[in-house]
Symmetry: C2
Subunit: 289 residues, 2 copies
Amino acid sequence: MDAAHLSCFNAPMNESPRGGAGGVEAGAGETPTFAPLYRQIRALLLRGLQSGEWKPGEAIPSETELAARYRVSQGTVRKAIDELAAEHLLVRRQGRGTFVASHREVRTQFRFLRLRPDEATLVASDAAAPPEGGEARGESGPGLAMASRVLECRRLRAPGEIARALGLRAGEAVVLIRRLLETDSRPVVLDEIWLPGARFRGLTVERLDAWHGPLYALFEAEFGVRMIGAAERLKAVAADRSHARALHVTEGGPLLLVERVSWTYGEHPVELRRGYCVTERHHYFNQLS
Amino acid sequence: MDAAHLSCFNAPMNESPRGGAGGVEAGAGETPTFAPLYRQIRALLLRGLQSGEWKPGEAIPSETELAARYRVSQGTVRKAIDELAAEHLLVRRQGRGTFVASHREVRTQFRFLRLRPDEATLVASDAAAPPEGGEARGESGPGLAMASRVLECRRLRAPGEIARALGLRAGEAVVLIRRLLETDSRPVVLDEIWLPGARFRGLTVERLDAWHGPLYALFEAEFGVRMIGAAERLKAVAADRSHARALHVTEGGPLLLVERVSWTYGEHPVELRRGYCVTERHHYFNQLS
DNA sequence: TAGTGGTCTAGACCACCGT
DNA sequence: CGGTGGTCTAGACCACTAA
């Protein structure tokens, strides 16, 4: 990671024809072929994150140091970091530094868990940052920590439909996890999780059982796969016999089906998940703005 | 709106003890009692929006003019506007100016309509701004324009539960709208919409029938109520007899229930909505990031 | 006390837009 | 062409954090 990667002339603006609203040619055949400086810095930071140069939970270099390294002003680095922080890829902490976001932190761990008990208040003031204090409390917060019981975890060849969603060729190896989430030993969610086999070698039932905490934290810590985004589709469906038995509901009763494709850096899909949820005492929460 | 509203000493920073990370005392008993300058500017802009000084679709003064008016630098105004633009309250248009967001624009009109036909692609590249061209096309885009058939619109006294959600006293006047959304003359959503009577005087079936376009655009244009956010709860429920008849589904079959509380400026709730959706050919879409 | 992110300013130049 | 937002810089000072 060096200033040489920057595809522009990096003298101070007053002496160069660079500045302004436009930008400069992007390096190495990127799609836009033209981007402002701070987006190039952003791309460099992104590369560092993707390559594992800075790992989840670790601090990246200070703004001053990055500015010196890339030969740009601190303000430009700042704007690049601002964007990555807005996307929850980085977390800024005043006085301490800027850190790579991690699913092991309580802060972010509920962004991907939208199922909540009905007692939670409807009017959410999540938008504003919370008072930044309850970081150590283990399991309160908006979502509830549900107990996970892994039913199976096996490797098989990807059916066409799964392969398509994960960007694999049909027949490539995938991992299938089936698990049950429960509260008060009442089953709430039946999950079916598909992962590309290549990235998740060595993922077994034992490994899953030994892990206490969010699944994505395991993926990040053990397999270097950090989930950064997902798209979900929700439907109401009727429970079939197997669902009914696993979830202790009547056959034909209503279930909330949540289909999710989640991705890592570069919008590369790495998980397909189907969750069948009992919504008698829980609901899926969403905030529009 | 005048510089006098600013609760701080507005000389250039080098001559004043203001600058820095902290901020200055907020005016008139606000909650935080302390906020950086750009947040005060933000609050002033917000006040202008809320008071109707600048109406949806109109341009607000230029950054330069606002900077002069409030006696701060353009960068500070800029940061305030950045936040409001990120919350979709303002829309920046290079070369033209900054405009008050409006539900009449196609751009924003699908942010509150999450139900989509199943044919829509799952992997969404919504995150990046679209190539900014198809602004005039009427009804393509991610969501589909469903035909609305108003079943009833009447005024009544708010039941306790409704009053609580809308921040009213039980028994205050509310408007109840019931409507059916359909595609290809197939019913898809049965909506039940509760509004505070005081803000929506003169809302009738005729008024609704005469309006072609999003409901929120009507609210904004005719009643000066601009929706800026909402919280939703989703559940899977079994269709009762009346739902079954209205939606042409079998009694007991699965329906997606979407409960929504939406609010205007100041997070003041102004709508409670319950939608029962048939998800045979449609799904609720959500993007996590 | 030294280092970090956070705020604010001032000024330059640019791309875009309507006229 | 003049005005608007968009980018970039340089430098100052502040609040917060850890040693």
